[in-house]
């Protein structure tokens, strides 16, 4: 019987962190009930190419009408792996982000930076059979938010990934190498271990950059690993 590796909750952000004020009223106060995975957690939804369109992963083009969006053009790419370093193929990766000025296309965002008429701010793709994914987009801007009197989110892209089990489901945010706002961010600092924070910082990848077109950033995503019990006939067969 297959099981997932237990989630290392000390590696993840803590549910309650008073410096991230919204977490104070939204974090459970009772201990979580630890369950060995049942069929309900070990199974999960699957997606195929009929669910998405080829342009869905190109944020430079998937909403544009009169030209390209404003901002620094980037290629964002990487692999989805599990904790055994095995690629996770054909899994759905979705991203969303602010535009180059730090404004989200959302009816609840009222930041004064301008909406970009040629930028929607979301994309999705399936990993290939080696677990690779890629998006084209613009580098998002920093923006202010209500936490301290002057709190600014570092440039970031939200990332959602599925894997094969509902208990592998993960939403995170990627940051950009060298951003001085990373160290100051209360949301990032909900993560206690600095090595875990480093895991969220995408590296500038000159080798993958396209000359006179776009810079590249590489961001690998790791989902929980799968293990078989001792009596499983196919110990590597998951």
């Amino acid at each position: 019987m297959t099981q997932l590796f237990p989630r290392d909750r000390a590696w993840h952000p803590q549910a309650l962190d008073p410096n991230y004020k919204t977490s104070v009223t939204r974090s459970p106060t009772q201990p979580l009930l630890s369950l060995e995975g049942t069929t309900s957690e070990l199974s999960g939804p699957t997606f195929g190419h009929s669910d998405i369109d080829p342009l869905d992963n190109d944020l430079l083009r998937n909403f544009a009408t009169t030209g390209d969006p404003v901002g620094e053009r980037i290629l964002l790419h990487g692999r989805v792996l599990d904790e055994n370093a095995r690629p996770v193929p054909n899994t759905l990766v979705e991203i969303w982000q602010a535009n180059a000025g730090g404004r989200y296309r959302h009816k609840k965002d009222t930041y004064l930076a301008a909406i970009d008429p040629n930028f929607g701010g979301c994309g999705r793709t399936l990993t290939d059979d080696q677990g690779y994914y890629r998006f084209r987009t613009v580098k998002p801007g920093a923006y202010p938010w209500r936490n301290w009197v002057s709190s600014w989110r570092p440039a970031h892209i939200h990332v959602s990934v599925f894997g094969t089990s509902f208990a592998q489901r993960l939403i995170t945010q990627l940051y950009f190498e060298g951003d001085p706002l990373i160290a100051k961010c209360p949301i990032i600092n909900t993560i206690p271990d600095p090595r875990a924070i480093d895991q969220l910082v995408a590296a500038l990848d000159i080798n993958a950059s396209v000359p006179f077109d776009c810079l590249a950033y590489k961001f690998d995503i790791v989902l929980r690993g799968l293990r078989s019990t001792y009596f499983e006939n196919r110990p590597e067969g998951n």
């Binding site: 290392d8 993840h12 919204t22 939204r26 974090s27 309900s40 939804p45 995170t172």
Partner: protein, 199 residues
């Protein structure tokens, strides 16, 4: 020193933030971009089984509705079989995304009532819908389950409900029967805090 284990570490989670809808439900953020938004149909009109509607609200520790929550649902079909494990009903996807009304925080979804699920070990679990909650202020998605009030016998022998030490807390996972379906309110904090799982 000992040899090094060469496992990778899981990517740490970060909050989905208040604008999660842009990525996962752009129509709710206020714009159309995709030909087909995912998670809108848990069970198609032709799916076999009893059609149900589930409504609810997620409340924070002050009792206020969490208006920017996004809930994902995952369930077995009417026969208790998950889509990735051999469900043969082509109209049944089993997975959905639920977004509340941004003014009230009330949400609702249509589906079919799942059957009891037999686990790999032969253990039978009462009919249930798995829920995963993300929102601003939630740093790692919260897993819980919805059970049905009209399945008292099955609930009484459900191995997961029975793992909950305090019987009164088991009630937090059992929906309420209301006109037109079920109601399942989720409380993030005490006093009647919903049971959340480390799965």
């Amino acid at each position: 020193m000992v040899q090094k284990l060469d496992y990778l570490k899981e990517t740490p989670s970060q909050t989905a933030g208040p604008y999660v809808h842009i990525g996962l439900a752009p129509g709710d953020a206020g714009f159309d971009i995709y030909r087909h938004e995912l998670g809108r149909d848990i069970a198609g009109p032709d799916a076999s089984g009893t059609k149900i509607t589930v409504r609810g609200v997620v409340r924070d520790g002050t009792g206020a509705p969490v208006k920017d929550v996004l809930i994902e649902t995952w369930q077995a079909d009417a026969n208790g079989v998950y889509p990735s494990q051999g469900s043969v009903d082509p109209s049944f996807r089993g997975w959905g995304r639920v977004i509340p009304d941004f003014d009230t925080g009330e949400w609702a979804f249509d589906t079919i009532k799942p059957g009891a699920v037999t686990d790999q070990t032969g253990t039978v679990m009462a009919p249930h819908i798995n829920l995963w909650l993300v929102a601003r202020g939630i740093n790692l998605g919260l897993n819980t389950r919805l059970y049905f009030p009209d399945e008292m016998a099955a609930n009484a022998s459900d191995p997961v409900l029975n793992l909950i030490e305090q019987p009164v807390r088991r009630q937090t996972l059992i929906a309420e029967q209301v006109e037109g379906g079920y109601r399942f309110d989720i409380q993030l904090q005490c006093p009647s805090e919903t049971v959340f799982f480390d799965v």
